[in-house]
């Protein structure tokens, strides 16, 4: 069974809008995805019939809201293969998830002289938090190189992971190259050295099936808004034993057990990490997005994107574009970053916009990787469940037109 794209597109009201009088062709899902009616409707229903604050209310409405919120936690756990919903902390998104690990587990465990291993392909969200941590505690950063094909040099792991390594921070899938990284190998190497592995799954979660136990990772963060869910939500998976021993993050309501004037004791995991009124409706919406994706089947999602990226790369190359990242689509997600000699990526994005085509141009929050690739910026088309080969044809047609302008 594969995706019935024509029919699922009807779930997305935004495809009825026009841009500059042209039908919308949205090829920027790696930045943020569109939302199906089912997800938005779930939140509307929540606000209109079940809304109250969670956890603290004795009354029925609050119980219903709490059940919806905790049900979403169970869905987010299941989605990444976590066995216990308590190992899921709700966040605003991947960036907050990684920063939470920085401020809690990492500040308690990384000391002066320790090393943090990141990779040359990390998104700023999985790099800058570690820079800030390193500066704060006096640790240092190392950067696992990327080869010419856009793959991590895991052959160098022995050299890059040492007994001083305390954290290995890596993305499961690159938002620029599309590379799907061999996280299990990195996890094994990290663990053998006594380090912990923190995985940025912002790109992976929407697109490939994930199992935190198979990957054997310690922390894994992902965002709702890239996987058909609302903005303002995300999940951080953490190994329960680590979560239990970690200090809290924000102080406030909900995360406490007992509060005295000068000190406090903490609530159980995961509440210890969810201070204040949480993003209740957004968590519920994220749960609905998980259910929508489960309905499609993550295997089918992945299969569709393989086809799309395969077709996309070949068409872009035919059009004379240089496409970055691995050519082997078994280790590549639905992202195609590219450049045309003739047209600067920013001009390209502006010109394509006139045709109703949304693509991204810039450094994609990966400035260090841009330097490795030796370019100031790239254009990027990214594909999701609602995209069709026709849209790739439209993209290539519009590129030809842009080339015409500059010819």
């Amino acid at each position: 069974m594969s995706l019935d794209v024509e029919s699922l597109r009807k779930d997305f009201p935004i495809f009825e809008t026009q841009v500059h009088g042209k039908p919308l062709i949205y090829l920027d899902s790696a930045s943020s995805s569109q939302k199906p009616r089912q997800v938005v409707d779930r939140m509307v229903r929540f606000y209109e019939t079940e809304y109250a604050n969670v956890h603290r209310g004795v009354y029925d409405l609050s119980e219903r809201a709490t059940a919806a919120y905790e049900g979403a936690r169970a869905a987010c756990a299941r989605f990444v293969g976590a066995r216990d919903p308590r190992s899921i902390i709700f966040t605003r998104g991947t960036t907050e998830g990684i920063n939470l690990v920085r401020f809690t587990w990492a500040r308690a465990n990384v000391k002066a002289g320790d090393e943090i291993l990141v990779t040359e392909m990390e998104h700023h969200s999985n790099l800058v938090p570690w820079q800030l941590l390193a500066q704060e505690v006096g640790a240092s950063l190392r950067h696992l190189p990327v080869d010419d094909e856009g793959l991590l040099r895991i052959d160098l792991l022995d050299e890059y992971i040492t007994e001083r390594t305390k954290v290995v921070a890596v993305s499961l899938m690159s938002n620029v190259l599309g590379t799907i990284n061999p996280v299990r190998a990195l996890a094994d190497a990290a663990h053998a050295a006594g380090a912990r592995i923190v995985v940025d799954a912002a790109q992976a979660a929407p697109h490939i099936p994930i199992d935190v136990n198979e990957l054997d990772v310690d922390f894994l963060a992902y965002s709702s808004h890239k996987m058909l869910g609302p903005t303002g939500a995300g999940a951080l998976y953490g190994r329960l034993d680590l979560l239990e021993e970690m200090p809290p993050f924000h102080g406030g309501g909900e995360m406490i057990r007992e509060v005295f004037p000068d000190h406090s004791t903490w609530a159980e995991v995961p509440h210890k990490f969810e201070a204040g009124t949480p993003n209740i409706a957004q968590a519920v919406g994220m749960g609905a997005a998980v259910e929508y994706l489960e309905g499609l089947g993550m295997g089918n999602v992945r299969a569709h994107e393989k086809e799309m990226v395969d077709y996309g790369i070949s068409k872009l190359e035919e059009a004379g574009a240089k496409v970055y990242g691995p050519k082997d689509i078994s280790i590549r997600g639905g992202v195609a970053s590219f450049n045309l000699d003739e047209v600067h990526p920013h001009d390209m994005a502006t010109i394509l916009d006139q045709e109703g085509l949304c693509i991204r141009a810039g450094h994609h929050c990966a400035q260090p990787l841009m330097r490795v690739l030796g370019v100031p910026a790239t254009a990027r088309a990214s594909f999701y469940v609602y995209n069709t080969p026709d849209e790739i044809d439209a993209l290539v047609g519009a590129l030809d037109k842009a080339k015409g302008w500059f010819a």
Partner: protein, 146 residues
């Protein structure tokens, strides 16, 4: 007011300056040279100025980037050459206000530069259009002439 479609904007003005930039290259000797970049899109520019009393005697630029940043810098060099530093500075401020949507700008004064108004609709590109102008203002400041 002129109204240009994006295609016209590109074809009539931007691409002309992009393909055949005026005053592109090093300027030697110069009184001040300043390099600036726009980290968000990787555009880079260096502006060289040689003063002639209170006037911009000669000006040139080097750089790489999108057509809007390069064309805007090229138009800028044409426009400010020979102006007093004060007038050139005021023109730069006018362009900045125009791009912020705060001022319409007089077609007579602006000439070609009017075409940059097409960029106002693309806020992300405004920084491209202003890179040269902002660098010029900083260069004036550095030279103590402003």
């Amino acid at each position: 007011m002129v109204c240009l479609s994006l295609e016209e904007l590109y074809k009539e003005v931007i691409l002309d300056h992009y393909r055949a930039p005026r005053n592109k290259g090093q300027l030697d000797p110069h009184d001040v040279a300043l390099e600036r970049n726009n980290p968000l899109c990787g555009d880079e520019i260096e502006v060289f100025v040689k003063f002639d009393g209170e006037n911009v005697g000669a000006i040139a630029f080097e750089g790489k980037g999108c057509s809007i940043s390069m064309a805007s810098a090229s138009m800028m060099t044409e426009k400010v050459q020979g102006l007093t530093v004060k007038d050139a500075g005021e023109l730069a401020e006018t362009i900045k206000k125009m791009m912020a949507g705060e001022e319409e700008g007089e077609p007579e004064v602006l000439g070609d530069l009017v075409s940059l108004k097409g960029v106002v609709k693309y806020p992300v590109r405004i920084k491209c259009a202003l890179l040269g102008w902002n660098t010029l203002l900083e260069a004036f400041e550095e030279s103590g002439k402003n």
